[in-house]
């Protein structure tokens, strides 16, 4: 009987841990980020300063230095969103790369507090480019 109790409590701990990881940390974030098109469509859901993640390609030519950070446009082919990022970008940040920014809507601008650079699964030396 004692071992059954033990097994039950172990199972309980595992269930709580799983619950925390899935619903606590991950929560709505099972959709880890929204695309610019979805973000614009669901603007009303995120009106009250609710934070979310936004991912898109940094549009070439859109990056300008701003006070305490930089400003650029991310797009996914559909909508384009102007992002104001507070702070320094990660080392790999460049025009054309895909970024995930965490922040909130402020009018039509997405205020970003954390920026993550998404890199692809292709690895080549500097001279070679991806060629199938």
């Amino acid at each position: 009987m004692k071992s059954a109790t033990l097994l039950l409590s172990l199972g309980g701990v595992a269930a709580v841990l799983t619950g925390f990881l899935v619903f606590g940390g991950l929560g709505d974030n099972l959709t880890y980020y929204l695309t610019p098109t979805e973000a614009v469509d669901q603007r009303d859901d995120f009106a009250d300063g609710r934070r979310f993640r936004l991912a898109g390609d940094v549009q070439p030519g859109s990056v300008v230095e701003a006070e305490d950070g930089l400003e650029f446009v991310v797009a996914d082919g559909g909508e384009a969103v102007r992002v104001l990022h507070d702070g320094l970008p990660p080392q790999l940040f460049s025009e054309g790369i895909e970024v995930v920014v965490e922040g909130l809507w402020e009018d039509d601008v997405f205020m970003s507090y954390t920026m993550l650079v998404k890199h692809d699964e292709e690895y080549y030396p500097p001279s070679e480019e991806a060629s199938p």
């Binding site: 071992s3 033990l6 097994l7 172990l10 701990v13 595992a14 841990l17 799983t18 990881l21 899935v22 940390g25 991950l26 974030n29 099972l30 959709t31 880890y32 980020y33 991912a55 970008p89 990660p90 080392q91 790999l92 995930v100 954390t114 920026m115 993550l116 650079v117 998404k118 890199h119 692809d120 699964e121 292709e122 690895y123 080549y124 030396p125 500097p126 070679e128 480019e129 991806a130 199938p132």
Partner: protein
Amino acid sequence: MNPAADAPVTTDTGSAGYVRRTSLWARAATGAMTAAVFMIVVAPPDRLQGDVQRLLYVHVPTAWLAYLAFAVTLLGSAAWLATRRQRWDRLAAASAEVGVVFTGLTLALGSIWGKPVWGVWWTWDPRLVTTALLFFVYLGYLALRRATIDPVLRARRSALLGIVSFIQVPVIHFSVVWWRTLHQPATVLRPSAASMAPSMLAALFASLAAFTLIYVVLLRTRIRLLTLEELAEARTAERPVAGDDVRPVAVAGGTSDG
């Protein structure tokens, strides 16, 4: 029931066994050094990430070993349920321990890679969360093994957990396909050809081979240790315990005929 009864315990303490074990370690070390030359000298730096990308040559093999180790635990667990032979339980237990170590290494190396490239040590990305979950579940497996004393009961419970837990491995592998993640999808284990320069792929395969050899050495060493532990326990059970030799003292000039 005597746990060692059905297991032909081979301690392998002779000099031949020692030589064989040492040469296995030597081969693993040679493999590791060869792989190191490949990943440091032969492979070029990446066009975007530069030298940081070389972390791939250790991060991917540790993840692969976690998958492999838990697959071996699955096989050992299933084989124990089918045959009830102690050796399969030992295989499952040893492989799970090695797997937990490599899962932890995968998380740590991934974190070290994530900071310079992504910009963060950790994010609640489905790939990362499911991998952390894998780590905790198999830590739970090891805890269950420590918590159950009876060897047969322990083998049965851990066999069930060892089988059920494996479902996480395919989920983790496909997490980057099923959900939106920050983590990039697979470079090699995917339907189309590997998207990597050939020299980089060579370094990756050299490293995968070396790490797999290290896994084999660690697994064998751990199984041997488990076998020796069981043997020691069996011997302890046969040995007289303290107090066995103590006899009631006959008091001289007892009172009975007094």
